[in-house]
């Protein structure tokens, strides 16, 4: 049993969020997009603790908002069986009359589901806020007979939450933390007598026949008579022999690799602390949870906020591996490309904050026109897939492994190669005093013209991301681009405005040589590579050309000055050259090429208009 769908109403920025969930869910999106609220909403719905939302948690847009008359906070969870994994007899028994059926999706043998609703609102009769958990019927009304969700019901989906702030000191000392719970489960009853004896011995060993201690006891006895406590003795102990306190000091000690020092975990760095908290959490899931829940059918709902916090990239990867192996349904919020690049693209849930309201997007399995039903021929599913197998591979290669930042930006600019990327990224802060990242803009180099994986997932049916393309303007390139855009599901006439072309027949190098003119470029080369560099290059080039001895072989005179510069750039490495040339432009406070300027303006305008 797992949560197949979440609906959140009027909770913080979630006005009406409806999102399907898989076994594993990676919540991505910028700060303030509603990821934490999403996890906390599920936590409120599933944990029968005294903790309830506060007045500030009601969704509000105006200032004069009054939570008492607002629509209630509602969190609706759907638990749906699949064709391969039907509800067990246990579930049927425990949820008698709560189970609903979806006849449409599988008329032969309808799929069962349970909808439970958490509601929080102000109750005028009672004069206070109240919360309630109940089941919904097929018409989404509270069911009639015993509608209320009990502890027994929730034991099927225990929700375990690990928040970002992982303070190891608190974890170690608190009784209610995962460590505290693990500690409590250590059973030493059968050895109690021996333990008592040993403590006795230890206390003696440390404190007996010690002059200071003896004097101290004498002094303290005065206090005893003062307050007239009628007890027989006064003792001083190093170790408490009270049963329940024996494990109070249980701690984790780590030896530093470069020296012999063994320190408690709290004296290690934040990274180690964070990782250790994870392992404690994992141990808790394995050792304690099954005992607490007492339900063999239970699927823990594991909510983890930013597992990457304080942890270096490799450790982030291994923590994610650890999480992947936990059994249960996982909801993980993250900003880490190292987490994102390991997850399945269909597990991404992209949250965005649009004018204060959270929207969610996923990459769909099937095209929108396809109404999913069980029992269709295999070919039907295949032909209606949103992404073809090839596209899935391309996305893995180009997006997931190399450009994960795309998922965290408002807008991305696609360009053909790294030269464009470098120039844009350098000119951005020069022109607008902020990096593209600060604007929420990513510049992505597509390595040739592989736009389709990006455009596909940017489609409004998928993650609905905004994009611009900087492209060459040869007619074939233009034609191909138009074709790609159409193929990825866009109306070309609308979206063609989001393409910025270089002048026809030019690549990026020839364009900027042309823009700045040979004098400036020559100046830069002399500056960067030495006074006579171009002169020497020309001599070498002439020799090369005559060595070829081909028919119709060109001589150096057939090349213009600009073309020779272009060839030089090619030799030196386009990207590196662009990098240094950009620095030169900025140092000398030169103009930015019009087309790039125009593109930057457009992108920023788009960000600002939401």
């Amino acid at each position: 049993m797992h949560i197949s769908k979440v609906e959140i109403y009027n909770f913080r920025s979630h006005k009406n969020t409806v999102v399907d969930l898989s076994e594993s869910n990676i919540l991505i999106g910028q700060n303030n997009s509603g990821k934490t609220a999403f996890l906390e909403a599920i936590n409120y719905a599933l944990n029968l603790s005294k903790n309830v939302p506060s007045e500030d948690d009601f969704f509000a847009i105006q200032d004069d908002f009054n939570p008492k008359v607002s629509d209630p906070i509602k969190i609706v969870l759907e638990l749906r069986e699949t064709v391969d994994e039907r509800f067990s007899d246990d579930v049927q028994y425990k949820f008698e009359n709560k189970i609903q059926y979806d006849e449409e999706i599988y008329p032969d043998d309808p799929i069962a589901y349970i909808k439970l609703c958490y509601e929080f609102k102000f109750d005028y009769e009672k004069g206070r806020y109240v919360d309630e958990r109940y089941f919904l019927d097929i018409n989404l009304q509270k069911i009639h007979k015993s509608p209320f969700v009990t502890r027994d019901h929730l034991s099927f989906i225990p929700c375990i939450f690990l928040a970002t702030l992982r303070d190891i000191n608190k974890e170690i000392k608190s009784k209610s933390s995962y460590w505290g719970k693990l500690k409590k489960s250590i059973d030493y009853k059968h050895k109690e007598v021996e333990i008592q004896n040993q403590i006795e011995i230890l206390n003696d060993l440390i404190l007996k026949d010690n002059e200071t201690v003896d004097t101290l006891i004498e002094k303290l006895k005065g206090f005893k008579t003062d307050v007239d406590i009628s007890s027989d003795s006064l003792e001083i102990k190093a170790f408490s022999n009270r049963n329940w306190e024996i494990l109070d000091g249980l701690n984790i000690y780590l030896k530093k690799s470069n020296c012999d020092l063994v320190l408690p975990i709290s004296k290690h760095g934040m990274g180690s602390q964070s990782i250790v908290t994870f392992y404690i959490f994992n141990a808790y899931l394995d050792l304690i949870l099954p005992k607490v829940v007492e339900n063999e059918d239970a699927t823990p709902i594991i909510c983890i906020e930013e597992p990457e916090a304080h942890v270096h990239p490799h450790a982030q990867r291994s923590i994610f591996q650890l999480i992947s192996q936990m059994s249960g349904q996982k909801l993980i919020s993250t900003h880490s490309p190292f987490v994102v690049d390991q997850a399945d693209i269909y597990d991404y849930v992209l949250l965005k904050n649009e004018d204060g309201i959270t929207t969610t997007k996923r990459i769909p399995q099937y095209q929108q026109s396809f109404k999913f039903r069980y029992g269709l021929p295999e070919a039907a599913y295949e032909s209606f897939k949103f992404l073809t197998r090839d596209e899935e591979l391309l996305i893995k290669r180009y997006v997931q492994y190399r450009n994960t930042e795309l998922f965290f930006s408002s807008i991305f600019i696609l360009c053909e190669g790294d030269t464009e990327k470098v120039l844009l990224e350098r000119f951005f802060p020069y022109y607008k005093s902020k990096t593209p990242g600060q604007f929420g803009i990513s510049v992505i180099s597509c390595g040739g013209q592989v736009y389709s994986p990006f455009l596909k997932i940017a489609n409004k049916d998928a993650l609905d991301l905004k994009w611009y393309i900087l492209s060459d303007a040869e007619s074939k390139t233009k034609h191909d681009l138009e074709h790609t855009i159409k193929k990825c599901g866009y109306d070309y006439d609308i979206f063609k405005n989001q393409i910025v072309y270089l002048p026809s027949g030019m690549d990026m190098e020839s364009y900027y040589i042309d823009f700045y003119g040979t004098t400036i470029v020559n100046d830069f080369i002399s500056n960067e590579f030495g006074h006579r560099t171009i002169e020497i290059f020309k001599i070498d080039l002439e020799k090369e050309l005559s060595d070829k001895k081909e028919e119709n072989a060109k001589s150096i005179d057939d090349f213009s000055e600009k073309q020779i510069l272009n060839k030089f750039i090619d030799r030196k490495g386009k990207v590196k050259f662009a990098e240094n040339f950009a620095s030169f432009v900025i140092e000398n406070e030169l103009e930015i090429p019009d087309i790039l300027k125009n593109l930057i303006d457009k992108a920023i305008e788009a960000v600002e208009n939401g």
Binding site: D89, D90, Q92, Y93, K94, E96, N97, I99, Y101, E103, D109, P110, A112, E125, E132, D137, I138, N139, Q141, I143, H144, K145, S146, P147, F148
Partner: protein, 640 residues
Amino acid sequence: MGKILNGLNERQFKATTYDKGNLLVLAGPGAGKTTVLSRRISHILNKSKGEHFKLLALTFTNKAANEMKERIEELVGDEAKRVFVGTYHSFCHDLLRSYGDYIGIPSNFVIYDSTEDYIQLLNGGIRKQLEKELAGDISSAILYNKYKDTMIIEESAPTYYYKIQTLKNKLSFEERAQTHLKMMPDDFKLMYEIYNDELKISSVLDFPDIIFYTNKLLSEKPFILRQVQRIYKYILIDEGQDTNKSQFELITNLCGDNFNNLFIVADEDQLIFEWNNAKFEYLDSLVKKYNSKTIQLYETYRCPSQILNAANNLIKHNKHRIKSKEDLIPTKESTQQSIEMNCFENQDEEAIFVCNKIKDLNHYDETCVISRNRYILEKIQDELGRLSVPFYVPMGQDRYITREMNLIINLMRLIFNEDDKIHLYYICEYLNLDYSYVLNKDDEKTLLQNFIDSYAKLYAEKPIVDVLNKFKSEKNEFYNYYAMLKDILIESDNLDDDLSEDIELFEETYTHYCRDRKNEERDLRDFLNYISFYPRNTTQNKGVTLLTAHASKGLEFGYVFLISMNQGIYPDFRAKKGSRALEEERRNCYVSITRAKEKLYISYTKFKQTKYGLRTHDPSQFVEEMKIISNSNVQNASPS
């Protein structure tokens, strides 16, 4: 474990612990039917402690269900939550409440408490139909042409209503499709339609509908059936002989084809609901379909041997019964003469003798008088009254006797459904308001509001108006408002017996309601339906009980007077020789005589009063069939 199987006789033990498949237990009167059922349920629950399945035990009355539930709780405590014990109707009601939507039954359907309500509903439909007929072409006006008179047609509504109910009980789920109706006369067909339309408009279900739609749900939506079957692994049926067609259909639906844990307790000799379409054949085909083994419980704890012999002798004359059946064996020897047979000149003398005898015996709470028909009991009532002997006649239909309490309940119903014409009608009757005036006031307002406003205008300063206005906005605080209405409508220092009985019944109902429902689950709609399912006439055991033969089923008394045992009365003159009806009469008589724990007095009269003067009157053939005339001394008793 010991407690559960303690004190059972060999056969009871075998039936309780039987685990080799489906079983029919034939339990004679007083053979421990309820004991075996509740022990078996407890035994299974105890054996399967902590497992995740439930048992389903279906009874005919809520009284039987409550009694059984209490016994089970006593035996297995908390495990009792794994059994549903209830009537067919309450089980189906719950299922429809949860899943009725899947076949288009709105989950907020209503069930009326009394037959009167349903008849009123039909009447409303008839009025509408007449209006429609009169507005249109008179020649095709079926109702108008048949009756020409609204009064007459409204008076015949009850007759139609009962016919419709009988038909509904008789028809299976498939048969209720129009084909079966085609053979009926046009006016009936129309009434049937009108009635069902009215039910639909008001989202009301009647009792046959509850089972009918459940059968529909289970047949059309197999996934719902599967869910029920996965939860309920055992099905136990009480009073199996009284199963009618739709109940039979429900059982076979629930069991499917290969069920192995069906347990039926029955006594075909006690089948007395044939008029409600309960037939021996249904029981018989259940037994055959599920290949049930049979265990007969013939050791009878209730009746002394002499009475049992008479019962055995009597019932053998019936052809429609299970062939291999053993005679009932007494566990109680008669210490003295257990049957006294008396013969009187006429019913007046009979009444005088019987009542004096009752007074002499002086065990009023342990005494009952049974007759075939209610009118015969009237003489007894008069005579007992004259002798100041307390007595009690269980009421048939009405749950609440007093005008005041019925008014309160009807007000609650109107509060729940503010446009409920039917209950508004009663309220107007009770309060002497002009119904049509309240009905036709203001379309913008609900009928409830119309009523409150009209009432306020007529009787200024009535606190009831304030209470209703507040009640309207806090419907679920119904118990507080009940208390307020009670304070206004009933003078507490002037309670007669009827009123205190009604109040007691209401408050008892509410206490049970609170026991059965968690705080958050209580609401007005649910409570009103709960009332409808709550047992009627809780037996009071105060004074002599006067019963008709049908009403005596399931009860027992130390002293039983079976009176006017004359041919034509018992058996009824309409039951022809060799007919099924005669067999039903005989079973009825069998039930009547086996109510007695100590002594049975049978009496008949020599003469009867007819329009044409005194005629001789033969004793009932049943008396002869019991074979007691020969060996007991029939006294020509005359009242002293």
